[in-house]
Symmetry: C2
Subunit: 374 residues, 2 copies
């Protein structure tokens, strides 16, 4: 893929917001555009109709930004919508159709009762498993038990994932939860689906992210994007401790970027549940099976470690407005690769990788960014 480059990137503050979904998307879009003109608008959101009562979202945002008569389109891949919309926009620029495009992704969720949000989010699971009463959290609990059993992961070790994320979020001005927590806090928090506790689960959040892609040379290039799928029902998959969709997406993204895991300096991984961060890192090829546990315990994935993961605070502590997350990861990497990540800057970061999960691991994307000249 020849380019495209990321000209600019911005996020709203994540958290409980009073603005509408369109207002949130417009806020970060204006920040990213900063007076630039875009040839087209690409919007990502998981379910703006049910979560925010807004249909025809791409037109609504185009209208708010006074972009008519330029094209506007929405892209959806469940909770990977923010990554999928970047992929579509990047391919359209690569095709030569557009020179500069605005990519925005967001979700508005906190105004709804938690039970209603859970029911809406569960629509992305297999009807087969929904009928059994399985939820996102109970599927994550199954994976957690399997991983603990196979690799000897303890409950205390697993708690290091949210402890790390919350620590990083303290350094991120846009993060939803800017509060340090301890292993003890995690273990004593409310049970959700045994062995998962509240602090193991990303929370409902509002927020949006925006990126301007351009065929004109910039500081950061979208070097490769991969996209994979798997059976909708977890019971039809080969393994509870690995996501085939991530492995396929990583294979494609590294091939397109002509690089491998060894060259990556900073990672944003989809940690909607604590266990996913470990599974993600193994599926991406950074560690062998069980190796992500050892790296976590040794502190290798902390800021300052050999491979900093979710220095933004991740889905857990930056917040997880579902459709926004995949693009917010890219905004974080852009800030890292341009040296604008402030107190959470990874020194000399030149190659960044974002991994986003749609549904419970059924539709995943991997995006590799590279600082130009690196």
């Amino acid at each position: 893929m020849p380019g495209p480059f990321i000209a600019s990137a911005a996020c709203t503050a994540f958290g409980k917001r009073s603005e509408t979904l369109v207002e949130l998307l417009a806020e970060c879009s204006r920040k990213a555009l900063d007076g630039r003109e875009a040839d087209a608008l690409f919007v990502g959101a998981q379910n703006p109709e049910e979560l925010a009562g807004t249909g025809n979202l791409s037109t609504a945002l185009s209208d708010a930004l006074a972009m008519a008569p330029r094209p506007a389109v929405r892209v959806e891949c469940a909770s990977a919508s923010g990554a999928a919309v970047l992929e579509q926009a990047a391919r359209c620029v690569a095709s030569g159709r557009y020179r500069t495009v605005l990519v925005a992704a967001g979700e508005r969720m906190t105004h709804l009762p938690t039970g209603r949000v859970s029911a809406i989010l569960a629509e992305v699971l297999s009807p087969l498993e929904r009928a059994l009463g399985l939820t996102m959290a109970s599927l994550a609990a199954l994976s957690t038990r399997a991983y603990m059993h196979r690799h000897g992961l303890t409950r205390e070790e697993l708690a290091l994932v949210p402890v790390k994320s919350h620590g990083n979020a303290l350094l991120n001005p846009i993060a939803h939860f800017r509060k340090a927590i301890t292993v003890q806090d995690v273990l004593e928090s409310r049970p959700v689906s045994d062995p998962l506790r509240v602090y193991d689960c990303s929370a409902v959040s509002d927020g949006a992210a925006a990126v301007v892609l351009s065929s004109e040379r910039g500081e950061v290039r979208v070097a490769g994007i991969g996209h994979g799928t798997d059976a909708l029902a977890v019971q039809h998959r080969e393994d509870l401790c690995s996501l085939r969709a991530t492995r396929e997406a990583a294979r494609q993204a590294f091939a397109e970027a002509s690089c491998g895991p060894g060259e990556v300096d900073v990672v944003e991984a989809h940690d909607a549940f604590s266990i996913l961060e470990l599974i993600d890192l193994e599926d991406l090829g950074f560690f062998p099976a069980g190796g992500a546990r050892r790296a976590l315990v040794k502190g290798e994935t902390q800021l300052g470690g050999a491979l900093p993961v979710n220095v933004s605070g991740g889905l857990k502590a930056r917040g997880h407005p579902v459709g926004a997350s995949g693009l917010a990861q890219v905004v974080e990497l852009f800030d890292q690769l341009t040296g604008n990540a402030g107190r959470r800057q990874v020194d000399g970061a030149a190659v960044g990788l974002a991994q986003s999960i749609g549904g419970f691991g059924s539709n995943n994307l991997v995006t590799v960014l590279r600082r130009v000249g690196a």
Copy 2:
């Protein structure tokens, strides 16, 4: 855009169907694939979550077709989703990323009470106008009155649009309504929003369409695609009798296809309401303002006329499962350009144009197909 070509195309029968949305999409996808392998799946639907209770639709269809681990993505532009998904798929093939892709679009609506469907469909309108109680039909009624006033169109003349569509649908085995109607039938049908009657409004329907795009030379080429937007609220637009989004989409599509309206042999236009067919044809440049009325009255847009329009039966009589319609138009044109349209064949058709409307004219696409060698 270098290609892509349409390798094959298929529709389910439209109408009241007992299958799920995923089953309908899988049915026409299998027919279109006919044993072919596709590198990726692109799905279009307006609102599968609220209309069909199905989230994560692209993965669900990928699963039904056993396409994992290949990429799958959903594209949405309200009622133009079927056209928008073809656009995204075509750009991805043009970018060189994929050689062969499956494009499918559909909607399942008839199982819901009509009032519920109307409420869901109205979510694509401006909140400003929804708050006033305006609906799709009442906005169409405003446009109808304005056109009648400006161009002297009579109620009887307008009825010729659905009379023509129903006549054409008699020749289309997949059409929802295969029943001839008269001007008198239209005038005596139930009022919906004065002056519109039931026969002026496309009906709720179930159905799906699928197309296989390929970079390998085939009989029919996607010669050009255009995409335009306009203000969401009709009260913010310049004209009740013309859609800026169509004019912009047509300009782009003709430019990309290096042709003009004069070369088009057969047209599928978005006739969700009778008046739209006349407005569409003028916005597409086939007739000057008011000229579509004269062409209609003279029979020029009938099968056998100078410019046959909606020979499939159109949204009115083939049926309008919202997300499916834009792609079903392309399936019809593929059949026409390959000489496989049976009793509704337009003799020697070499260039076809499809026009699809998202929302009430806010997000529109135009697709030009050309028979290779023509």
